[in-house]
């Protein structure tokens, strides 16, 4: 399972539409969740519409919260999205078997069995979450909370039985060709999440769309050595999923 969790506080204003980018991500099997984080004032009508649209296009969830709720919101969204992704996969399998795979149409005792499988797989399937953090000027006072929330998310991921990895990006980069910057490569180690954003120079531009594309690229052509092993594990898992439901 692959997720992008976008954390922003306003509208994108440069480059390709972030809604299109999110739709593309979903097509590539990556779910996109969005948190709009605001402490004072509002995110604006345009901002909140965009946030909702990105999440819808990306098959994920969107929420607008203040920094005190950030950690718990990110944790909850990731968990819910995992369950949804698994549920989708199980549904697909069920359509082959039952013709009509809607969970609500199943009588309660059969539903119980399906949900048991969903729960099991949600806990054990490998998961990768890429945090994509808007580091435009207005986000600066919130970056401390974002980092704390990232550490808290890692703590929840570590508790899962399946392998879970986190990577962190921020955008925009230092020059125009750099849409997003990798702050932390895939890791399972919580101690690596500290002073992530120390050297960031805040800029006004918010190229959310191009940044999402960049993360999709990273998912596909990441130069990690263990990426191969990871993909193999994912394939194996998907095989297991099929067996499970049949």
């Amino acid at each position: 399972m692959k997720q992008i969790l976008l954390i922003t506080d306003g509208c994108s204003n440069v480059g390709v539409s972030p809604v299109l980018a999110a739709a593309h991500a979903l097509k590539e099997g990556i779910t996109v969740n969005v948190v709009g984080v605001i402490d004072y004032g509002t995110i604006g009508e345009l901002g909140s519409i965009e946030i909702a649209e990105i999440a819808k296009a990306g098959g994920g969830i969107s929420r607008v919260v203040g920094t005190p709720q950030l950690a718990q919101t990110m944790q909850m969204m990731t968990r819910k999205t995992v369950v949804q992704t698994i549920q989708h996969a199980v549904h697909k399998e069920l359509t082959h078997i039952l013709g009509d795979g809607s969970l609500e149409d199943l009588p309660p005792h059969q539903r119980a069995q399906v949900v048991e499988v969903v729960d099991e797989l949600s806990e054990t399937s490998p998961l990768q979450v890429a945090l994509l953090i808007d580091a435009s000027a207005s986000m600066k006072p919130k970056l401390r909370s974002v980092e704390d929330a990232a550490r808290d998310l890692m703590l929840s991921l570590q508790a899962r039985q399946g392998t879970s990895q986190l990577a962190v990006f921020h955008y925009p980069g230092r020059h125009s060709g750099e849409e997003a910057v990798l702050d932390l490569d895939w890791t399972e180690d919580i101690s690596r999440i500290h002073s992530l954003f120390g050297r960031i120079q805040m800029k006004g531009a918010t190229p959310t769309g191009p940044a999402i594309f960049k993360v999709i690229d990273f998912y596909q052509y990441g130069t990690l050595n263990n990426n191969q092993a990871w993909n193999e594990e994912m394939m194996k898992r998907e095989g297991i999923l099929g067996d499970y439901v049949v």
């Binding site: 950690a71 718990q72 968990r79 369950v83 949804q84 549920q87 549904h91 809607s102 969970l103 609500e104 009588p107 309660p108 539903r111 119980a112 949900v115 048991e116 969903v118 729960d119 806990e123 704390d148 550490r151 808290d152 703590l155 929840s156 570590q158 508790a159 899962r160 039985q161 500290h194």
Partner: protein
Amino acid sequence: MTTSFKTTFSPGTIIVGKWRRSRYYIHRMLGQGANGMVYLVQKVGTRQLYALKMGYETVDLQSEINVLHSLQGQKHYKTSRKQGHDQHASSFLVEVDDFTSDNKEIPFYVMRYVKGVPIHAFLEKKEREWLGFVGLSLLEKLQQLHDGGWVFGDLKPDNVLVSEYGHVELIDYGGVSSIGRSIKQFTERYDRGYWNAGSRTADEGYDLFSFALLCLNLLYDEGFKKVTNQQLPQARSTQDLLGLLGHPNVHPYAKWLRKAILHEFADTTEAITSWKRDVYPAAVKLKSKQTHVTPRWLKSAFAFSIIMLCCAIYFVVRF
């Protein structure tokens, strides 16, 4: 595909099950959990009251029902070991069904209605030494879960109902996880991870930690609020919590709470033994000590009467 709703139903609404055709009359809303809303209902044609929980999401509610099912199976053999009020616990889950409202399928389940108030409301009315008693019952409830391989997870005052005479029931099983898995739901201020005091993997110690923080909250509210609100996340630690243990309100519990916070109990059974030995007598003695203390006026009166007696004897002997 996913049922997601947050409509409330007004008193007088009748809920008709899609599969089993049972009819329930809604009296009022009892509360809300992370997975759904709970109503006080009456089965139509009977005088029997139940609690009925409607889910926001089919999967989440079904997952909770699955846990209740396994618990129910497990409680049967439990009751043979423990008699008394646990006996009717086996009828916890009454019925599972769906109903249609505004073209939406809403899943629900019906459970036994537990009368009582949340633990903080209970202790506000009673005196503090009741925590010694109620705490023990709560620990025993947790032990039952742990023995079955489950961890409650989201332990907080709202999820602990206490009846008039201190009988304890856990409500909202939406956060229950199997031991070894990740904690499904939690409330930050009672969460071990939030305090940088350990993982979010479900084990007995996780519940004991939350239980200890719940006690701290009940015994010394201002202190607990202060450490919860002031700390920066990266600076939060068990030291802040241990610092509260010196307060006089906490005194009889301090040693036990310290062990629970520092994860020093091997399991819940050991924690209960320690509670019975160290906390329970001390917490309840607080009161009895006061009543046994001889008032000063009585002491002086006694001394005075001795002097009078001596004088009387002296005068009798002398004359």
